[in-house]
């Protein structure tokens, strides 16, 4: 089992993250103190959670580009509710966010499942629709910190056993998704559908419905993240998390989740997100302009996908040479 781990994708990522941290600590030793690393984790929590949702969707050979818009819409709705009725308890708002997120995810899922539109087209459409809806319900106005109730803003920062609630929610999400993917028939179905949809049908799995559920999970977690994002940064506006969907996909790709479906682990998604989170947090402290961040994460994606392709090619026996490789 240990040798299996050493050869695995996660070990490679752990090594890469270790090297990255070592490199950063030569420039700024304060970065690797436990307190700071906990802060980095907290800062990356939302990316981790979204990567988990995205992972499930990608496993089924789909993609969800609407997560960031979904997040922003749920955040805005929760923010507006809080503004209108400041006294509502936080668990109720969380429930609203989860249900609304799951509903938006279900719209994607239904279109993919029942009408059989390619997922990239569906989520490209809903990406703009959800984002536009925020404008419609908010009238383009911002919700600023002073318009939110104190408990609304305090919840993600509230400390539990020395760590903020935000980090704990990420930890709980990781555990839930791990159990879902590894311990339930549905988790196996996700892999089966992505690995070989035709074979999945013959084993009695409803491919469309499984994809639908994947989109619902991705949407639900985006809804939670919507509340957390708005509460943490204490602001809600139309362009919240604009373009974040690509960062989420990037985290999955770096984590070794194959875009062709069927391959990937929870550990990979989490480590991929943490890798990006460390880069984002480290750049300012090692005196590199934050303008470098985009180019660095771009390079990381390209390198990761090259590594992915090599490790994926080893698996299985190639009976017919792939057309593209012959030339």
């Amino acid at each position: 089992m240990i040798t299996q781990f050493i050869k695995s994708r996660e070990a490679l990522l752990v090594l890469a993250i270790g090297l990255l941290l070592a490199l950063i600590s030569t420039r700024f030793s304060g970065f690797i103190t436990p307190t700071n690393l906990a802060n980095v984790f907290q800062d990356t929590s939302i990316l981790i959670m979204l990567a988990l949702g995205q992972m499930v969707v990608i496993l089924t050979r789909c993609i969800d580009l609407s997560v960031a818009s979904n997040l922003a819409l749920c955040g805005m709705v929760v923010g507006l509710i809080n503004m209108a009725v400041p006294g509502l308890p936080i668990p109720f708002l969380l429930l609203v966010a989860v249900l609304l997120g799951a509903f938006l995810g279900a719209i994607n899922g239904i279109l993919v499942w029942k009408i059989d539109i390619p997922p990239i087209v569906v989520t490209l459409g809903t990406l703009t629709i959800y984002r536009g809806t925020i404008f419609l319900i908010s009238g383009g106005e911002w919700i600023n910190a002073h318009e939110m109730s104190a408990s609304f803003k305090a919840f993600p920062r509230y400390e539990l056993l020395g760590q903020p609630v935000l980090s704990w929610i990420a930890v709980v999400s990781i555990i839930i998704f791990y159990l879902l993917v590894v311990r339930t028939p549905l988790g196996r179905a996700f892999y089966a559908v992505g690995g070989n949809p035709h074979a999945a049908v013959y084993t009695g799995i409803d491919v469309g419905f499984t994809r639908f559920l994947a989109f619902v999970f991705s949407g639900a977690i985006a809804g939670v993240c919507g509340y957390l994002w708005v509460a943490r940064y204490a602001v809600a506006y139309v362009d919240v998390a604009g373009g974040f969907e690509l960062e989420v996909v990037a985290a999955c790709v770096i984590g070794g989740i194959s875009i062709a479906g069927g391959i990937g682990t929870v550990g990979g998604a989490v480590l991929g997100a943490i890798f990006l989170g460390i880069i984002k947090n480290a750049l300012p402290v090692v005196d590199i302009s934050p303008f470098w961040q985009l180019a660095i994460s771009g390079s990381a994606i390209i390198i990761a996908v090259a590594v992915n392709a090599r490790s994926e090619r080893k698996k299985g026996r190639i009976i017919l040479k792939k057309a593209e490789n012959v030339a």
């Binding site: 009408i115 539109i117 990239i120 490209l124 984002r131 990037a250 790709v253 302009s289 994460s297 392709a309």
Partner: protein, 335 residues
């Protein structure tokens, strides 16, 4: 009369040519385009002014130029999400060359060259190393725009030479702008390439079945590489026009265009799964998107509300024919 040869005509297809044309995707797009045109001209008195209409074309000409090459790429079963970032990098390179004192011809060469280089980079990664294009180009999308941010940060290049302005602001004749002419010329060139040449047939063949295409003697890798080059080049052309029109370069230039361009291509009837699509469809989709943007603009509808409409249109035009088919088969089953 016994030696009369009895001839029997067996039709190639069960439907006639006109029947098929009537039911095609392009006909649907033409109907949508005409209705958008009429709705617009009734809802705003300013719509039917030639200068306003000419202005409206700038909404889509640059994006459509890239969309032509993207359409071919999608027909071949690949995708390039880095196009908008190539525009940004090419524009930044032009700005850099401008600061170094180069004249207009050199600026244009810089823009086109940068586009080609970026396209080649994508092409090598996809065809040589066999990586999935959607992930590669998500990566290069960050990388190319990231490079622009590294060069420019929060700065901007301004002060392009005055003769450089022609490409985005010049008019060839009366209200016909240079960009519009370029758009039409490119549309014809791409339509001929895709529909009338061996290369175009190869592109469709690859999209339908890359393995079969390989066995029928098509050099799949090379064709795909050329398509990535073309997409990069068209992004360079669009960068020249856009930079010239705006007269400045910021790293956030053309942000989010990749999704609009893919929407344009899919709306134009190109199958996202590859294998089928027409350039005339993309031209019509560009016209529709441009007119919707312009018409909503005249009615003071904010751009973001318009994007809801585009998103709905994208899903609706794909969902409605499928729903129609599903309803029909359900009816058949019942009877």
């Amino acid at each position: 009369m016994s030696n009369d040869i009895i001839t029997r005509i067996i039709p190639d297809r069960l439907t006639t040519r006109s029947h098929r044309a009537l039911r095609s995707w392009e006909t649907l797009l033409i109907i949508i385009a005409i209705s958008v045109f009429f709705i617009n001209s009734f809802s705003s008195p300013y719509f039917l002014n030639p200068w306003n209409l000419s202005d409206a074309t700038f909404n889509f000409t640059e994006k459509a130029m890239i969309a032509f090459a993207m359409a071919m790429l999608i027909v071949a079963g690949e995708i390039d999400l880095s196009v908008a970032s190539i525009v940004a990098l090419a524009s930044t390179a032009m700005g850099y060359a401008m600061e170094a004192g180069f004249g207009t011809p050199a600026l244009i060469l810089t823009g086109l060259g940068t586009g080609l280089a970026c396209g080649a980079f994508n092409g090598i990664l996809v065809t040589r190393y066999g990586l999935p294009s959607i992930v590669v180009t998500i990566g290069t999308m960050s990388l190319f725009r990231g490079l622009s941010y590294i060069v420019l940060g929060d700065q901007a290049y301004t002060g392009y030479p005055s003769d450089f302005a022609f490409f985005g602001q010049g008019y060839v004749w009366w209200v016909i702008s240079f960009e519009l002419v370029l758009f039409l010329v490119l549309a014809i060139i791409y339509a001929v390439i895709l529909h009338k040449t061996n290369f175009g047939r190869a592109v469709s063949a690859i999209g339908n079945n890359p393995v079969a295409a390989q066995f029928s003697g098509i050099r799949v890798g090379r064709v795909k590489f050329i398509l990535f080059l073309l997409t990069g080049l068209m992004s360079g052309v669009a960068a020249v026009c856009l930079t010239s029109r705006l007269g400045s370069t910021r790293p956030s230039i053309a942000f989010g265009w990749e999704l609009e361009i893919v929407t344009m291509v899919v709306l134009g009837g190109v199958s996202i799964l590859g294998g089928s699509g027409t350039i005339i469809g993309v031209v019509l989709a560009a016209l529709i998107m441009g007119m919707v943007t312009f018409g909503f603009g005249l009615l003071n509808v904010p751009g973001i509300v318009m994007s809801i409409f585009i998103g709905l249109l994208l899903i609706a035009v794909i969902a409605l024919p499928r729903l129609w088919d599903m309803a029909k088969t359900a009816k058949k089953k019942r009877s």
